[in-house]
Subunit: 335 residues, 2 copies
């Protein structure tokens, strides 16, 4: 490849008949440069097509003005019709946009990808990192924090690792959901739980367990991983094990959606025979048949808060170790 030799500050300086320092000042918008000189430099920059080398700059400034959002997931998963990731991304993007920082999105589904992300982030390619959807006890956030790199997790980590996080009130939302089912007379309430290597999965199950226990009812649990397919499978398991169930709380809307379909295929009417409540309030929840009653979590806001916290940290400010946003029960027709 015949990489065009790119002009440097030095070249621009020669062209404009000034020193490197002056060019640097003009390029970076310093006001202490006389107008004629400034103009001459601008001209030289334009003529030569000069573009600053960011590596050189960040080597000395110790900043890159870009922030990474790391999703330790396969691309397939991130961009499914689950709108959770997209919303987080949008939220983060909005805040960074306002701060004029570049968002760098990194997927890390595979071990190799994870290693690459580690190299990239620890190598100071970014000024800070937002993690979302962490599984298990991923050591990377803590590692980065130890290296002095600002880190915020969107969604609390399993096991407290001392990294600031933002999350939503899972238990509160689930509690309201189960109470709603109880209020409408349901007594044989099952749950389709989420993956237990994620905090959201654990918490939503905890919420369910506590709520049914408080009502003196037995628990009926099947597990999924937040996806549609897993929801359908879990629903079939529940029907097999507890054919008499009259309500289901699913830990994600996708699972709830698939479960409703499975119920219909099994000849059960929703909500007449079995009530269904989901979690997330994704866009399609309003368009399912019947429209899905669900626990809304402010995902966009979660992303925005995560980004805000990170920007504060990067600016050297202290931030709260935890920020928990409220959830809300949205009652539609399915329960």
């Amino acid at each position: 490849m015949t990489t065009v030799q790119r002009p440097t500050l030095e070249a621009v300086a020669r062209r404009a008949g000034v020193s490197r320092a002056t060019v640097s000042r003009v390029v970076n918008g310093s006001t202490t440069v006389a107008e004629p000189i400034r103009e001459a430099v601008r001209l030289a920059v334009a003529e030569l097509g000069y573009v600053p080398n960011l590596a050189a700059r960040s080597l000395v400034t110790q900043r890159t003005d870009s922030i990474a959002l790391v999703l330790p997931e396969e691309a397939t998963r991130v961009f499914s019709d689950d709108q959770v990731f997209p919303s987080i991304i949008r939220g983060v993007a909005q805040e960074l946009e306002a701060a004029d920082k570049q968002l760098v999105l990194m997927l890390a589904g595979s071990p190799a990808g994870h290693a690459r992300v580690e190299r990239y982030t620890t190598g100071r390619h970014v000024d800070g990192v937002v993690f979302a959807s962490l599984h298990g006890a991923d050591p990377l956030p803590a590692k980065l924090a130890r290296l002095g790199i600002p880190v915020v997790c969107s969604g609390r980590l399993v096991g407290d690792v001392g990294v600031p996080y933002v999350d939503v009130d899972h238990v509160g939302g689930v509690t309201r959901a189960v109470r709603h089912l109880l209020d409408s007379g349901r007594r044989r309430i099952a749950t389709i739980a989420g993956p237990q290597d994620m905090f959201a999965g654990v918490e939503r199950l905890t919420g369910y367990r506590e709520a049914v226990a408080a009502a003196g009812l037995p628990e009926r649990v099947a597990f999924g991983d937040f996806t549609r397919e897993s929801g359908a499978a879990a629903m079939r398991q529940l029907l097999d094990a507890h054919p008499d169930l009259d309500a289901v709380f699913a830990a994600s809307d996708l699972m709830a959606h698939a479960a409703m379909r499975t119920l219909r295929e099994a000849g059960r009417r929703v909500p007449d025979d079995v009530a269904m409540i989901g979690f997330d309030d994704i866009e399609t929840a309003a368009y399912t048949d019947p429209p899905l009653t669900t626990v809304r979590q402010p995902i966009l806001e979660l992303g925005r808060e995560a980004a805000r916290q990170l920007l504060r940290m990067a600016a050297g400010e202290d931030v709260a170790p935890a920020l928990v946003l409220p959830t809300e029960l949205v009652v539609r027709a399915s329960a």
Copy 2:
């Protein structure tokens, strides 16, 4: 923020009692270092928690081992339930994964975002750039190419700018779709066209126009922007202007989906009264009611090819100026 002072090569060298050069060799896996020394260096690296500074490295190597995928779209749009972008992302991600390059995803919906992306890419933060979903005559690809930065566009640009691209055979696919409608006896065939500032939008309309003209039929056109809402609106327009239509080719599955719903609301049966064909073959196309007949485009493959081309360019090889992948008519129940 108490940014921990990070150890440098120098520090490791002192600790291990060798020179910087030797540490560099060990870190980069050179084989010309004696085993005991290698071991001592490894120990020092571990003890100090040394991580190479990527900015310093790329300043001298002129490489970053990362590739940008730029989507000049709002995050909202990119992550809608349209699976087109996600598939491109996945395709690119797969190839880069195999090449052990870091994927850096950048959204650039706003003008400010666009400017940021320009700074970032021209500033040599990445070794190459894949563009997808370009609107109008975006000058950035050509600009990067002039700077000697490898660029590939996924989806051809409006107006030939001399940047290598990969795309699918829009016209061929649409032609087969219209022919299918003709073969099944439809004669009053309308189209919901895509945005005319995108090559895909233009080409699919061209394909429709040529096909109906070749059959001696008049054209009936309404415009959308590939989204559901725009599809519904366009369908209403078409029904108003041409209440006798008996078939519609929509330039995207999302528009086709919404149009079918609109038709049903207007009392038309699909396909009995009006046949519908979409474009894309997104996942939900198989689950619409009725299942959607559509033109499948190999989007994942498109992303992979784009990435492959880029990697070749970055490696200094020559690549074909254009690569066009075939499309295919998938016949389901809607037409």
